[in-house]
């Protein structure tokens, strides 16, 4: 296959900034071993660590003494990172989720969200209790609910309540596929599908949702942090029940309330993530139960940039690696700091972007896929030969770029980083070319095998498990053996414990749909819910948000400064 030359590599600018004053294509350098002093953030850490130790009388951050018995970090260059496509250079430390408020808020906004049907409750009110439900009553109910949901009383006397300024991120909006019904909802309470989505996507979404009315509920960030994801449906159901009682003048103890509670807690509830098995020790709305299709629906880049499925996929990669690698596997399941750099390789320095857009050039020139105008019409039939052909070229190109630019190889210094990036560009390209998520996953696994054979190395031990048997499950859909990509998730058997994969898998699933012009990947309700501009985190621009977090410009929710002494 003829190789496509890209005149301007997207990562050159980043590498030149990172390795300032050096030839980025040179294979040698002088290791000056300047230590921690190279990094402003490490200098800050040392200063703060000393202050912490002094204040509490217990030793704290002390890298000069504690790292390798006196050999501190920074024996090589401690480089900065550009959060891809943002132009913002940050310290690696700023991309650890502990140090990045935007990352925390992205996960907070998912964990504190549930979607609840209003239809079941309305049927109970109308059919069982004979009450009238009109646009006026619905709007009044939403007023009451937005008072109650953060933790305010609506029925009883002498109640304690939560401070509105501590829970200002908590609210409820509704959405529907029925334009007439939408028109009757007060704009403050409506997620307006027509305004938020491109016309074609809006039509698809409205047709799928139909006349149903759904509530997008976001409980307070501070509550879901103190409790857990499973709290979201419980907290919301309690406030829903009380609000129905108040708004529709019900008896607080009548049996019909049980129907409303059942609808809110079970029958009409859409959680963001499934309950996990006991061995994972997590409830619903925790990252391990997220399906890849659902996650790709949460990320909204395809709504904002409908003509760039590659960018949409890359934003899912960034958000997904942050959530699944840094937070889920890196902290919930493992703990520590190492997982951050598995993830950041996929969304820094424009390297994955370069490799992916190479794939776009390839499918346009060779297969006439007009990827900038997403449509199901020009997708290539996902035969094994074609998947192999596209995947091989994209994977080899990525490997060759690492070979030609030793600083790129040094930037992605770990095999797991490179394995994820090489397989991600391959999977994304194959998914976008075919419009088929499983074909994308299949391309991912061929990339892994090529990588392993070409360089006689791959990632850490875990890659032996997942990526060398991945070919065999990538097209299987039988229970316990496989599944369509959209329905796989972080707890899919082979995927449950391996960093550097899950965010990319979610992106591959999404990319298959972005390239077809589909308005959603798995669930239109989740797509609409996260389009809401009132959310604290902007799900259409995860990388920009992470960059804002890194440079400390992102204002999160759930802050406690109101109730603690001033510092």
């Amino acid at each position: 296959m003829a190789k496509i030359e890209r005149a301007q590599k997207l990562f050159l600018k980043s590498l030149k900034e990172k390795f300032a004053g050096e030839d980025i294509a040179a294979g040698k350098t002088v290791y000056k071993r300047l230590g921690l002093a190279q990094s402003p953030r490490k200098r800050e850490f040392i200063k703060e660590g000393q202050a912490v130790a002094l204040a509490r009388g217990i030793s704290a951050y002390d890298p000069v003494r504690c790292h390798l018995g006196g050999i501190p970090l920074g024996q090589r260059q401690l480089t900065s990172y550009e959060v891809s496509t943002t132009g913002v250079f940050v310290e690696g430390d700023d991309l650890h989720f502990v140090n990045n408020a935007a990352m925390q808020q992205m996960w907070d906004d998912i964990r504190r969200t549930v979607i609840v049907s209003m239809d079941l409750a309305h049927q109970t009110l109308q059919k069982r209790l004979g009450k009238e439900v009109t646009p006026e009553t619905i709007n009044e109910f939403l007023h009451v609910l937005n008072h109650a949901m953060p933790g305010a009383a609506v029925v009883q006397e002498h109640m304690v309540e939560t401070h509105p300024a501590l829970t200002d991120d908590c609210y409820v909006k509704v959405f529907t596929g029925d334009d007439e019904m939408a028109d009757s909802i007060e704009p403050q309470f409506l997620i307006n599908v027509n305004k938020l989505f491109p016309a074609k996507q809006a039509e698809q979404l409205k047709a799928a949702v139909g006349k149903s009315l759904w509530q997008a509920i976001h409980i307070p960030t501070t509550v879901s942090r103190i409790c857990d994801g499973g709290t979201s449906s419980r907290w919301s159901a309690m406030q829903l029940g009380m609000s129905f009682i108040a708004a529709y003048h019900m008896c607080a103890g009548e049996a019909a309330v049980a129907d409303l509670a059942f609808a809110a807690k079970h029958a009409g509830l859409i959680e963001m993530a499934n309950l996990l098995p006991a061995r994972r020790a997590r409830g619903p709305n925790e990252p391990g139960g997220l399906k890849f299709g659902a996650f790709s629906d949460m990320i909204q880049t395809d709504r904002k940039y409908p003509h760039d499925p590659a960018k949409a996929g890359l934003e899912v990669v960034a958000a997904g690696t942050m959530l699944f690698d840094q937070i889920w596997l890196g902290s919930y399941m493992s703990g520590g700091v190492g997982f951050t750099q598995y993830a950041t390789a996929a969304y820094t320095d424009n390297i994955l972007d370069e490799f992916t857009y190479y794939g776009m050039d390839l499918i346009k020139s060779k297969y006439k896929v007009d990827w900038k105008n997403p449509s199901p019409k020009d997708k290539i039939k996902a035969t094994q030969d074609i998947v192999n052909e596209i995947s091989t070229e994209v994977a080899l190109n990525a490997m060759e770029n690492y070979e030609m630019f030793p600083t790129a190889l040094e930037d992605h210094f770990g095999g797991s980083q490179r394995a994820s990036v090489i397989a991600a560009c391959t999977g994304l390209t194959t998914a976008i070319a075919t419009g088929n998520s499983n074909a994308g996953l299949n391309g991912w696994y061929l990339a892994m095998l090529l990588h392993k054979e070409g360089w006689s190395r791959l990632g850490f031990f875990g890659y032996d498990l997942q990526d060398q048997c991945g070919s065999a499950n990538s097209l299987a859909i039988r229970p316990d053996e496989g599944c369509i990509g959209e329905l796989r998730g972080a707890n899919y058997p082979n995927y449950a414990m391996n960093v550097g994969h899950q965010g990319e898998y979610a992106a591959i699933c999404g990319a298959a749909h972005f390239s077809r012009g589909d308005a959603w990947s798995l669930d239109p309700r989740i797509k609409i819910c996260f389009a809401d501009p009132s959310l604290v985190f902007d799900f259409s621009e995860p990388r920009k948000e992470f960059a804002r977090g890194a440079i400390r410009e992102f204002m999160p929710a759930g802050e406690r400064s109101l109730i603690i002494p001033a510092r």
């Binding site: 090589r76 094994q384 192999n388 600083t407 210094f413 095999g415 031990f461 032996d464 097209l475």
Partner: protein, 254 residues
């Protein structure tokens, strides 16, 4: 017909080197002498000359149960004596080091009994009963599998396999376990594999030149070496493996 191992596909020198290294019928070229004592020092598990610490009593005294498998599988000397299982670990530079992690595991599996190789991207560990490990390690260190500059003996803090080389052509080592002696133009280990200072330096000789490295390397790298895409047979073999695995998973009855 007796099975004749092929050791892998490929038409390039890289593929041929891989086959050679795996093939136990091929005698690895010895390119340096390292004494038994120095091998022990480099690994740092015991003091040279000291007794082998044991993990269990000698098998002869252990009162093993009657078991046909135990009769078939002859224990290593170290297992017989009850030695601990210890390790040697290597870091191989992607800039044309002779050996690389998966190949190390493959060749160790072909060439040595009783070894437990572990493969990662930046390092490869092989574990074995201690006295047997020392024999394995000696061959791994003395032969063409190791270049003094591009191969590192590193138990921890292995960072460097993908980094640019330093001004002397040495692979980066955060701990500077080995140094390039400008006078002798040789590479000397001043710390053991875990980074503990040695009482004396151990000279592994001169780094091999680029010509030798590119003739002996087992990594595809288009930047001065062989591009993987140029080994069509190898790439097609990978595609075939992938296709067959895919098909089996999709429709195993075929």
């Amino acid at each position: 017909m007796a099975y004749k191992p092929q050791f892998g596909p490929g038409t390039t020198a890289v593929a041929e080197n891989r086959r050679k290294f795996m093939n136990p019928g091929y005698k690895l070229q010895k390119i340096r002498d390292v004494t038994d004592e120095d091998v022990v020092l480099l690994m740092g598990h015991r003091a040279p000359g000291s007794a082998y610490p044991t993990a269990h009593p000698p098998l002869a005294e252990a009162g093993e149960p009657k078991c046909p498998i135990r009769k078939i599988v002859v224990p290593l000397d170290g297992a017989k004596a009850g030695d601990r299982v210890r390790y040697i670990q290597f870091t191989d530079s992607m800039w044309f080091a002779p050996c690389h992690p998966y190949l190390r595991s493959y060749l160790e599996s072909w060439r040595y009994r009783g070894v437990d190789p572990g493969t990662l991207s930046g390092r490869q560990i092989v574990e074995c009963r201690e006295r047997d490990l020392e024999k394995v390690a000696k061959e791994l260190v003395e032969t063409e599998l190791l270049d003094a500059a591009r191969t590192g003996i590193r138990g921890a803090t292995v960072h460097g396999h993908s980094l640019r080389l330093d001004e002397n052509g040495m692979m980066f080592d955060m701990l500077q376990r080995r140094i390039f002696d400008v006078k002798s133009k040789t590479v000397k280990y001043v710390k053991n594999q875990i980074g503990e200072p040695l009482d004396k330096s151990i000279d592994l000789g001169k780094p091999m030149d680029d010509k030798w490295l590119k003739a002996h390397t087992t990594i595809y790298n288009m930047n001065g070496g062989t591009a993987f895409r140029d080994d069509k047979e190898y790439v097609e073999w990978v595609q075939r493996v992938h296709s067959l695995r895919t098909k089996y998973g999709f429709m195993p009855m075929e």
